[in-house]
């Protein structure tokens, strides 16, 4: 597999009082991987995701995605990069309240000047929300909103799908549905980077788990089977590190 994301010695320092800094992080993510970044609140996992998405810049070090060094790109080029290569799924969905579900899905394509109504409808259909395509976000359940957000993230066929705590604002059932969708997408070849603080989710759905604590990667484990219990994986890894 080819390398899709390459971080080299990335450090991110925030102003005093803001948590989530990174310290000398190096990381490579292969095409087609389903990677989970785990860590406690304020550990720097979302910062890592933001740097890879190009919505934030490192204080030092380099971030390359799909061969593009994000540090060399200006704001406009970064916007184009996100538009072309990144699909973003947020914890709180962040659908535009004044647009219908279908219009929300279409936004990234329209920013590129593309007309892809057919693909948007197909995506909504695949995600099981075709019947609510003309509804506004306020009239959708949390699960439906997150699936709309996923369709929006996928509309431009991104090379990398970033999901930041995508189930954090959902009930268990809706959360499971969303994660199943992510797994199906990954099976179809979609590279996914999932940020979560929930070990069960990480071990159940991701093939690789990167643990971040206090801005440093403390663990990077590729799981043999995604069906193994979270406690088992962690135990295995800790044992490996001890040895």
């Amino acid at each position: 597999m080819s390398q899709l994301v390459v971080l080299k010695d990335v450090t991110k320092v925030y102003q005093a009082g803001i948590t989530g800094a990174l310290s000398g992080v190096s990381l490579t993510i292969e095409n087609g991987e389903f990677t989970a970044i785990m860590g406690p609140s304020g550990s720097g996992k979302s910062t890592l995701l933001n740097l890879i998405a190009g919505v934030d810049r490192p204080t030092s070090g380099s971030v390359a995605v799909g061969g593009a060094d994000l540090g060399t790109l200006g704001e406009t080029a970064l916007a184009r990069f996100r538009r072309d290569h990144i699909g973003f799924v947020f914890q709180f969905f962040y659908l535009l309240p004044n647009l219908t579900a279908l219009e929300n899905v279409l936004i990234p394509a329209q920013l590129k000047g593309k007309v892809v109504a057919g693909r948007a409808e197909a995506l909504l259909d695949e995600l099981g929300i075709a019947d609510v395509s003309d509804r506004y976000p306020a009239r959708l359940s949390g699960g439906q909103q997150q699936r709309v957000a996923m369709a929006r993230a996928l509309i431009n066929r991104p090379t990398l799908l970033l999901a930041d705590e995508p189930t954090g604002a959902l009930d268990t059932h809706s959360g499971d549905q969303v994660l199943e969708l992510l797994r199906e997408l990954n099976r179809d070849g979609q590279t996914i980077l999932l940020v979560t603080h929930d070990a069960k989710i990480a071990t159940r759905y991701a093939a690789r788990i990167i643990s971040v604590v206090d801005g440093k990667i403390v663990d990077d484990a590729r799981l043999e089977s995604p069906d193994r219990a979270a406690s088992e994986v962690i135990r295995v890894r800790v044992a490996e590190m001890s040895s």
Partner: protein, 774 residues
């Protein structure tokens, strides 16, 4: 209470930009309002105040020089006058000063006081010798004559030289730029200044109370009946003088009041918008404040205080500023009245302006502030942020259907997401654009009116002739100049019209007078002998209509005259009486009359300066030759004020748009961050914000342009009515369609420029910080 103040002050420190917007908006509105109030208070019928102070003449009558002055001294009892001035001996004179010649009426008067028509000395002293003269300050200002300078009288053969001893203010005559002035000499000096047969008597009558027009007409008729025929050669009453005085002031005040209201409404719209925005942005804070014990009233007070503090600061600067700015206008108004100017400052007036401004601002802030006070703490804390505006979906779909790029569609949607905000902003834009349309329209009207007022439209040179030079001599001189293309000669005389007590000053033309530039509002210009045109005031008072024939008399000779047209006349005021006719109508009866002025049009490409110099050099003492140029007028001053206030209100509208975009950008920070995360480029974000601005400006502007045009028409009608005229239809179309479209597009362009700063802020939104804050 201290908690309220502490909270309000801390919020003020946090919201510096909003503080600046409130400060600037209120400053502009308060300055404009104070200016209007000051002018209103000081110019409310100033004529009447000065007229009473100077015991002005209700009626001034000129009598033939052959009338017995003893008889005249007995006339007050005939008309029931309470006091009189005169009879004064008087004579028309022409004098030369600074290379120019001026016509005036020299009045023999030995002291400036008296029971009627007191003259106020504002410079120098009253003449004490026969070689001294006192002139009006209005004339001194117009001709730049100063005390101590000399005037050479050229209307009599020995050309005596008079020294200007003093400048006076005479409430009984209008400004020098409208009418020839009176000047005063010792009674003993009159004989020397009087050409053969040129003298007359002047009497000033003052009544116990202000008489009506009808009473004044009756008085003149009584005098006419009691004296030998032909004794009365002219009369003028205070009503006409007052109306002429008040024309410009009425125009100025009317428009100032209208514009001040516009400015205040714009302020209310912007302040209400701002407070609503603050309430929305402080949604979570409101919940916290209430949770820790702020009462609804205290919450409301926190928001009202945040508006009141910068508004009060703006008043501290705006009220003195408005007072200072109104001083040049007051000075000009005083000049117009020939009154002394004193810097005007009224504590009471300023307190009224302060109280009014703060009351309006408080009221504008109170509704959204009270709304904040009523919010339920649990709900607002739970929701963290106010619900985003969700209106305007239909308009976004419409824009989408038009195939506009998505950023533009989103911009249109954002513009109307909050209908109240959009409406208030559109109101501010509406007022700004409408004011600009009105100001430009009125300015254009005034520019149109001026040449008609000067009655010398397409004329290159104006020549005044002294009585010493004959008409044939003057004409020979003009005809000898190769550049001369057309000469129209003007002769002034009085004509008596049935139904009008006073002889009417009448202008008789020889030559192609139709080319002089009188504006005929009804009927047509006269075509030959026997036809006359007149301003509307005369038609009204003489009960005449276009097409009527009446019998007029010139020095006892009667002639039938047919009224064929109505001319637009502004400076004469609503009571202006004048007749214009071909000189051939009266020449057989008044063969001794000689033209006093010639309007010369030169052949295309001629050098006017050379022509003026050559003709003047040919008769340096007998001809006053001037190139026809339009100098600054009172209407020019009004135009300048109009444009300045319109610019202020337009600036406020821009501030309103800026404020709305700022609020939208702040409230929509999460959406903007999301869009950035999804790949919207900085340029697309700026385009989105600019589209919001353009849309609001377009909506406000599209409504404002036709409304402004209509309001402009109403104001023009008022201006015309002040001068006693109907507005000529051709005047209405002051601004061409392309100009109106250009104003609209300029408004949109300015709004888009105002969007640049919020747009750049939106483009620079830090996605991480914004989404983290959520």
């Amino acid at each position: 209470m201290s908690a309220v103040i502490v909270k309000a002050m801390s919020d003020l420190r946090r919201r510096r930009l909003q503080v600046v917007v409130i400060f600037v908006t209120t400053l502009l509105a308060v300055a404009t309002g104070t200016m209007a109030l000051t002018l209103l208070s000081q110019t409310n019928d100033p004529f009447q105040i000065a007229f009473a102070a100077q015991r002005g003449a209700h009626l001034r009558v000129t009598f033939d020089g052959r009338t017995d002055p003893g008889t005249l001294a007995g006339t007050p009892s005939l008309v029931g006058a309470a006091a009189i001035g005169g009879p004064y001996r008087a004579t028309p004179i022409q004098f030369q000063y600074g290379g120019h010649k001026y016509a005036a009426a020299a009045v023999g008067r030995d002291e400036p006081g008296g029971e009627v028509g007191q003259l106020v000395l504002v410079a120098g002293r009253w003449p004490v010798g026969d070689d001294e003269i006192a002139v009006t300050r209005s004339f001194a200002d117009l001709s730049h004559v100063s005390v101590g300078e000399t005037l050479k009288v050229v209307s009599v053969a020995d050309a005596p030289v008079l020294t200007v001893a003093g400048e006076v203010i005479d409430i009984d005559q209008v400004r020098a730029d409208i009418s020839a002035q009176r000047a005063w000499v010792r009674t003993s000096a009159i004989d020397r200044l009087t050409a053969t047969g040129g003298g007359y008597y002047l009497m000033n009558y003052r009544f116990a109370s202000d008489p009506t027009s009808a009473q004044l007409s009756t008085a003149v008729e009584t005098l006419r009946a009691a004296l030998p025929p032909g004794s009365i050669t002219g009369s003028i009453n205070y009503l006409l003088v007052r109306s002429i005085f008040n024309v410009v002031n009425q125009v100025l005040i009317g428009i100032l009041v209208a514009f001040s209201i516009f400015a205040l409404v714009a302020t209310v719209a912007i302040v209400a918008n701002l407070v609503t925005g603050i309430v929305i942005s402080a949604y979570r804070e409101i919940g916290i404040m209430k949770a820790i014990g702020f009462t609804p009233l205290q919450v409301a007070l926190v928001f009202v205080l945040q508006i009141l503090v910068p508004a009060a600061a703006a008043c501290l600067f705006g009220i003195p500023g408005g007072t200072i700015l109104s001083q040049p206008l007051l000075a000009s108004s005083s000049d117009a009245l020939g009154l002394p100017y004193h810097a005007t400052f009224s504590v009471l007036l300023d307190l009224v302006a302060l109280g009014g401004a703060l009351l309006i601002v408080t009221l504008a802030a109170l509704l959204p502030a009270l709304r904040a006070g009523r919010l339920k703490p649990a709900v607002v804390i739970a929701n963290a942020a106010a619900p985003r505006g969700r209106s305007g979906r239909w308009i976004r779909r419409l824009a989408s259907g038009l195939g506009l790029p998505r950023p533009l569609v989103l911009g249109v949607g954002d513009a109307v997401a909050r209908p109240l905000r959009a409406t208030l902003t559109a109101v501010a834009v509406f007022l700004g654009v409408a004011t600009i349309v009105i100001a430009l329209g009125e300015t254009r009207h005034f520019a149109d009116i001026y040449p008609y007022e000067a009655h010398v439209g397409p004329v290159d040179v104006v020549v005044s002739k002294s009585a010493v030079l004959t008409d044939p001599e003057a004409m020979r001189l003009f005809e000898a100049q190769p550049e001369t293309e057309r000469v129209v000669a003007e002769t002034i005389t009085n004509i008596v019209v049935p139904g009008i007590a006073d002889p009417i000053p009448s202008v008789m033309y020889r030559g192609d007078s139709a080319a002089l530039g009188y504006l005929v509002t009804t009927g047509r210009w006269f075509n030959g002998p026997g036809e006359v045109v007149a301003p509307k005031g005369l038609l009204r008072d003489a009960h005449l209509q276009v097409g009527d024939t009446f019998i007029a008399s010139f020095r006892g000779t009667t002639v039938p005259l047919r009224l064929v047209g109505v001319v637009y006349d502004f400076a004469g005021g609503p009571g202006g009486h004048e007749l214009m006719l071909d000189s051939s109508t009266v020449v057989p009866a008044l063969a001794d009359l000689s033209p006093s002025t010639y309007f010369v049009t030169l052949k295309a490409g001629s050098n006017v300066v050379l022509y003026v110099d050559r003709v003047a050099a040919a008769q340096p003492d007998q001809l006053e030759v001037q190139a026809n140029t339009s100098g600054p007028t009172q209407l020019g001053m009004v135009s300048a004020v109009l444009l300045a206030i319109a610019a202020v209100i337009a600036l406020m509208a821009v501030g309103g748009v800026f404020n709305t975009l700022l609020l939208n950008a702040r409230e929509g920070a999460r959406d903007i961050a999301t869009l950035k995360a999804l790949g919207m480029s900085p340029r697309q974000l700026i385009a989105m914000v600019a589209t919001s601005a353009a849309f609001l400006a377009l909506v406000g502007g599209v409504l404002a342009v036709p409304a402004g045009v209509q309001l402009d028409h109403v104001l023009l009608d008022l201006v015309s009515a002040f001068g006693g005229n109907d507005t000529p239809p051709s005047f209405y179309a002051a601004l061409a369609s392309w100009e109106l479209i250009a104003i609209l597009l300029a408004g949109v362009a300015v709004a888009m420029l105002a969007a640049l700063i919020p747009g750049r802020w939106a483009a620079r939104t830090n996605v991480v910080e914004v989404l983290r804050a959520e």
